[in-house]
Amino acid sequence: MRLRPLCYEDLAAVLDLERSLFPDDAWSPGMFAEELAMQGRGRHYVAAEEGSKLVGYAGMMLPGGRQAEVLTLAVNTAHWGRGIGSTLLTDLLDEAGRHDCTEMILEVRADNPRAQNLYRRFGFSDAGIRRGYYQPSGIDAIVMRCGLGEPVLPDSAEPADSAVPADSAVPAGRRRGARRGCAMSGPLVLGIETSCDETGAGLVRGHELLADAVASSVDEHARFGGVVPEVASRAHLEAMTPTVDRALAQAGVTLADVDAIAVTAGPGLAGALLVGVAAAKAYALTLGKPLYGVNHLAAHVAVDQLEHGPLPAPVIALLVSGGHSSLLLVPDVAGEVISLGATVDDAAGEAYDKVARVLGLPFPGGPPIDKAARSGDPGAIAFPRGMYHDGSLDFSFAGLKTAVARWVEERAARGEPVPVADVAASFQEAVADVLTRKAVAACLHHGVDHLVIGGGVAANSRLRALAEERCTAAGIRLRIPRPGLCTDNGAMVAALGSELASRGLPSSPLDLPADSALPITEVVVH
C-alpha cells in the first residue's frame, strides 16, 4: 500500500467508496471537487492505493497554523484490519505537524466505536458532543481532540461542554460538516492600505468581508490635478486609527478579536506606505499577533475572492489604476504571481487624468470621462492604440494621451468647438480596446480560462462591457469585483492576508520595510 495526494482523477473511485461507506450522507461530487480545488491551500487530501486501486482516503483542513480538523477518513471495508486507517491518520498528523498545528480535532459518529478506538489509540480524547448532528438518522457526533506536541493550547483544559457546544449553527445533514463552516471560522484579519490617497481598513474572515472602511484624501488633491504625496501622507496619519476603528465598529468586533494584521508593503508612494506599515507593526506588536506585509497588486487580485469565491488556479489578472497597468499570470495569489506585461510609460488611469485636464474635466478623470463618453460616438475619432500589434503584453498610453491633446488643440486652433463627448468616447474606446485585447491574448496564450480585472479603472463602464463581450466570445470567464472593491481599500489587503494566515504561511518580520517598487514576485515580504 502506498500514499499519494488525492486528485481529480480519483473522483469516480472516491464517490463509489463514499456511497458504500456513508450511504446516509455521502458527499456530492461537487463537494469533493470544491475540496480538491483547495488541495495544498488549507486542505490536505491523501489517497491510499493498493496497486492502482484506491482503497482509502482522508482529508483535513489546515487553517491558520493552529487547529487542524479531520474532515473525512474512509477505508474500503474489504481492506479493514490492515492498518490503512492508521497509516492515513499518521499522514494527517505528520502534515499537521509540518504546518505547526497545535491540535487536531474531528467529529465521529457516536455509533462507530471502531473509528473512535482508532482515534483513541492515537491520543485523541473526547472533547464534546454535538447532539443529533448526523442527519437524517439523528445520531450524535462525538468531538475528539488531540494535542500535537508543544505548545498545547491553553484552552485545551476547558470543560468539554463549554469548548465545543452543541452548535445549532452547524448545517444539519452534513457529515463532518465543519468543512462548510470554513467561512465562519478561520483567522480574523485586519487589512491596512495606504499606498496612494485612500486610507483603508478592512476586516475579513475566510472569504467573508466583515468591514471595509475607507477615508480618501482625493478632494485635497483635486486642485493640484494629481495626488500630492505629502498631502496624502499627512491625511493617512490623521485617518489611520479612526479608519481602523470604523472598520471594527462595522464588523462588530474589537481589536482583541483580530488574529492577524496585513498591510500593503508596496508598491506605492513611499511616504504614504510607511504610515500604514508603521501603524500595522504597532497593531501587531501591541496585540501580539502576526504581521503580513503584502503586495498591493496581489491584493487587488485576492479581493475578488470576497465576491466570487476561491480563485481557480491559474487566473490571468488585469490590474488597471492611476498607478498601475499590469497583466499577471496568477497560479496562486498567496504564493506565485508572474508579471506578463505592464505599461512602459503612463498607467491607464494616469492617461484618463491627463485627458480629463485637456478636456477641462475634473480630477480624477475616470468618472467624468466615462460619463461624458456615454453621449459620445466611440468611433468618431481614430485615436492610436499603443503597442497594439507588437505581440507583447505590455501597454503604452503616453502616445494616446498626446494624440488626444493634439487633436483637441488643432480643433481649438481652427476655432471649432471641441466635441467633448466624442473625444471622451473615442479615447475610452482606445484604452478599453488595448486593455481587453491584451488581456484576452494573455488568457489564450497561457491556456487560462478565467480573467480577473481589478484596480480603479475596472470601474469603467466601457472596459467592463468590452471585456465581457470579448471574454464571452473567447470562452473566458470574467470576474470583476464591484467598483468599491476595485479601487484601493483595506478589504483587499485583508483578503490576501486571510489567504496567507488561513494557510499558516510565515508572517513578515517587525523590521518589514515599505518598498515603493515592490516587485510582484514578492506577494508577501519576508
Binding site: L274, A279, T286, E409
Partner: protein
C-alpha cells in the same frame, strides 16, 4: 508607571522605557532612512530588555518634531496606535526640547539654540535659556533668519552645519529617548493626575500645566510640520502642438 518614549524626528531612532524613577532600557540607532524598519523592533527590544510586555505600559510619549516628515510620522502613528490598542494616554514633546535638555550642562547657564537639519539650507530651531526652557520657537528658517541667533551657542547634531552664521557648537548629539522619557516623567509628575482631559490622555498645549525648568506642557501627538506640503496648483495643460 511604565512610560515608553521614542523619537523619530531626526536621523536617530531612539527608544527608552522609564518607570517613573529611572530609565530601565534604551536603544539608539542612527540610520536616516530606516525609521520605518527600526522603530518597531527597537520598541520590542527595549520592552523585552526590561522584562516587560506591551500590555504593561501605562503611557506613551513621542517626539513630535519638528523634523523630516516621513520619519516623524513613523513615531507619531506608532504612538497613536499604541495608545489606541493599549488604552493608555499618548503625549508629545517637541524634539528640540529633548535636545535642549541634553545640552543644558554644556550651555553652562548661557542662552543657546537647539537645532536640527531641515534641509534646503534651513534649520529647525528653538531658543532656550540656561535652564533648558524654551524662549522662542520651534520654527524653521535659514540660519541667518534666526532672530538674534548669531553668536549664540548651538546644540544638536546639526550644530556645526552653518559655522559662519551661527555660534559655537556646544553639544553635537541626536536627541535621546532616555532624556525624552525623563522630561515626560517630570512633566507628568508635576502635572499629577490633573494633566490632560479624562479619557483622551491629551493635554491642551495652550493650557496644560508647566513644570519648572521645562517651561512647557506635554503636547498632543501631532507632528510639528512647520511647513506646508510642497504642491503647486498647475497652470493650463502644456501644449503638445506648436502655435
Amino acid at each position: 508607571m511604565l512610560l515608553l518614549a521614542f523619537d523619530t524626528a531626526t536621523p536617530a531612532v531612539t527608544v527608552a522605557l522609564h518607570d517613573g524613577q529611572r530609565v530601565l532600557a534604551e536603544t539608539v540607532t542612527v540610520e536616516a532612512r530606516g525609521h520605518g524598519e527600526l522603530l518597531a523592533p527597537s520598541i520590542a527590544k527595549v520592552v523585552a530588555d526590561a522584562g516587560a510586555e506591551p500590555g504593561d505600559l501605562t503611557a506613551i510619549v513621542t517626539g513630535v518634531g519638528p523634523g523630516p516628515y516621513t520619519g516623524l510620522r513613523v513615531g507619531v502613528v506608532t504612538a497613536r496606535v499604541f495608545g489606541r490598542t493599549l488604552a493608555i494616554p499618548v503625549y508629545g514633546v517637541c524634539t528640540l526640547d529633548v535636545l535642549a535638555r541634553g545640552a543644558v550642562r554644556a550651555a553652562a547657564g548661557r542662552e543657546f539654540l537647539a537645532v536640527t537639519d531641515a534641509r534646503r539650507k534651513e534649520l529647525y530651531w528653538g531658543r532656550y535659556d540656561g535652564s533648558g526652557s524654551r524662549i522662542s520657537g520651534p520654527a524653521v528658517s535659514r540660519p541667518a533668519g534666526i532672530p538674534d541667533g548669531a553668536g549664540l551657542p548651538v546644540a544638536g547634531q546639526a550644530a556645526s552645519l552653518y559655522p559662519d552664521e551661527l555660534g559655537e557648537p556646544i553639544w553635537r548629539e541626536h536627541p535621546s529617548a532616555a532624556v525624552l522619557a525623563e522630561l515626560a516623567a517630570e512633566r507628568l509628575s508635576v502635572a499629577g493626575t490633573g494633566l490632560g482631559e479624562s479619557g483622551s490622555g491629551l493635554s491642551r498645549p495652550e493650557t496644560g500645566p508647566s513644570a519648572p525648568g521645562t517651561g512647557l506642557a506635554l503636547l498632543p501627538p501631532e507632528p510639528l510640520y512647520l511647513r506646508r506640503p510642497d504642491a503647486r496648483v498647475p497652470g493650463p495643460p502644456k501644449r503638445v502642438t506648436s502655435l
